[in-house]
Symmetry: C2
């Protein structure tokens, strides 16, 4: 376990290589405002407890030193390769949320695209999402390239939007 | 600058395949609280203007329908493949921030790991970050697997943390 997948952009189809590992990336450094700076950080406690849990199949945990979402301590990023949605959750409590996080990660890992139906997500994932990130290959909505007011006209502003990574 | 230390077991080295495209993923649907729901969404305006700009080399723009960071409208995700840091920015203004976003994307695209020195980031990227996401291959800090208080002892909870992508 804990293998890092072939991340190649030329070969992202999960059908080709089996599902990518799911990673719970936990910020181990942030702390709630007003808390004792010398006390163990909640994110560190959460990461250690996740590491000490029976993680769902295909799920690993990684501690990192800053997810730069310090006001929403403690935070984690749920990801599973370029074909899956990614999610960032905050305001997590290692005492209250461990089991829900494990259940949510299991549900996520069982999908190919990381999209778990709303009602099947644990409450903490429904209520405490900070942001989500679409799969790399999700195509753009159709855009209407527009000059900003007052923009200088370039000679060759021929830089179309990413149309998509179809197929 | 931004060199990546031992990025991968399976060889994700950007030297081998050239840098990955940088993508500005803009939420085109969120809107500031209290604004007219019929009015064009600021994120849509931003995405259209980015698409109509002379984008830095290697940078594309993608509009998506929700980054689930609605309270920080408008929002974008800056990414560039699994070897780069990813960033989510919020409270963006298509009138005020277009040039800074383009400059920040250019600086980001010039790095291998997506890490632009703080002082070289545009102010909007310094002040309006919602979260950042480490490269896929960034190893975990050393964790101390711990049983949660009251956790049942499993027969074989032998699920160590992701140790890292050594070498």
């Amino acid at each position: 376990m804990g293998e890092i997948p072939n991340q190649s952009p030329d070969d992202q189809s999960p059908e080709d290589q089996g599902p990518e590992p799911v990673v719970l990336t936990v910020c181990t450094t942030c702390r709630p405002e007003g808390s004792d700076p010398e006390a163990p950080r909640p994110g560190r406690i959460l990461a250690d407890r996740l590491a000490g849990s029976a993680l769902p199949e295909g799920v690993t945990v990684r501690g990192v030193e800053c997810l730069s979402a310090c006001k929403r301590s403690c935070t984690l990023h749920l990801s599973g390769g370029p074909a899956r949605w990614g999610y960032i959750y905050g305001d997590l409590d290692p005492d209250a949320h461990l089991d829900e996080i494990l259940a949510g990660a299991a549900a996520y890992a069982s999908t190919e695209d990381g999209f778990v139906p709303w009602r099947e997500r644990p409450v903490v994932f429904r209520k405490q999402s900070i942001a989500r990130i679409p799969p790399v290959s999700m195509p753009s909505v159709a855009l209407t390239p527009t000059q900003a007011p007052g923009a200088q006209t370039e000679d060759t502003p021929d830089t179309p939007a990413l149309q998509s990574a179809k197929d």
